[in-house]
């Protein structure tokens, strides 16, 4: 399961070693691979009748997660903001 992380580390090391080279096309490679994988995810979801039937429910659940994740993160940012202001005021 953690094999993908090994690929990422190999990428970091390779990228660092080749940092003197101009390799701007890498971002286009990433984008193309992302398109391909989301297309494959779409196919996988499409052939899964269970998921297709529940798509509206999954969307509702996803919206709840998004709202709470965002709310949690901005509360954290707010506490940090207050802390910095208090520190700068003294």
């Amino acid at each position: 399961m953690f094999i993908v992380l090994l690929f990422m580390f190999a990428g970091i090391v390779t990228g660092y070693l080749l940092r003197k080279w101009k390799l701007a096309f890498v971002s286009r490679v990433i984008l193309t691979l992302i398109w391909l994988l989301l297309f494959l995810l779409g196919v996988e979801v499409g052939v899964n009748e269970n998921v297709v039937k529940n798509f509206a429910n999954l969307g509702f659940e996803a919206m709840l997660i998004a709202v709470f994740a965002t709310l949690g993160s901005i509360t954290g940012a707010w506490l940090l903001w207050l802390n910095i202001k208090k520190h700068n005021g003294q």
Binding site: M1, G11, W35, L37, L40
Partner: protein
């Protein structure tokens, strides 16, 4: 926004082809997606290792603001833990989805690989919604929760898709913070998503 629409259209095309069985279902058994995923992770790592100059610029940031990625991640986790009590899915499933931090393409791909298409779809939608919420509500967040709030909400997207709206609402002086935050949280997405998927 245009980039998100293109990505969504690829997902939608795959979805339609899947629903109408344009491909035989056995086609998915070969796990092509794993090899593409490995290639993607290598490329993402490559692009991170390839830009050490970006990291050097971060020394200009106020020392306490350096903690912003940490409060974003912990805040996100607390938020999804609360809502996970009302779900049939487990808390670690929700933590994996939340750890996407708006990086919907990579997180949904990883979660599909480890947890299946249903959770992968929730991860895709939840993280797209997070990006949209940030794009739409950034001004309100800045007003009521301080100027760091839109950056936290944007999660891993604050150095690309949500960057313009952040410097518009929080100000140009927050552009380095925004890039720093996006860079660091981007880096954490594959780690924490994989970690939470690995824990039962």
């Amino acid at each position: 926004m245009k980039g998100s629409l293109i990505i969504l259209s690829f997902f939608a095309t795959g979805l339609l082809l899947g629903i109408y069985r344009v491909f035989p279902a056995s086609w998915l058994d070969y796990e092509y997606s794993f090899y593409v995923l490995a290639a993607l992770m290598f490329s993402v790592g490559f692009s991170l290792g390839h830009q050490p100059d970006t990291i050097r610029q971060f020394s200009k940031i106020h020392s306490r603001v350096l903690f912003l990625p940490l409060t974003t991640i912990l805040g996100t986790w607390l938020g999804v833990i609360v809502i996970s009590f009302f779900s049939k899915h487990s808390m670690t499933d929700y933590l994996a989805i939340g750890s996407g931090l708006g990086y919907y393409s990579l997180s949904s791909i990883l979660i599909t690989e480890y947890k299946g298409a249903e959770l992968g779809t929730i991860a895709l939608l939840a993280n797209i919604f997070r990006e949209i919420i940030t794009l739409v509500l950034a001004p309100l967040m800045a007003r009521y929760f301080g100027k760091l709030a839109p950056i936290a909400a944007g999660g891993a997207t604050t150095m690309d898709t949500t960057f313009p709206i952040i410097i518009k609402t929080s100000g140009k002086e927050y552009s380095i913070v925004s890039v720093y935050h996006g860079f660091v949280t981007d880096f954490t997405v594959p780690f924490f998503v994989t970690l939470w998927c690995g824990l039962k």
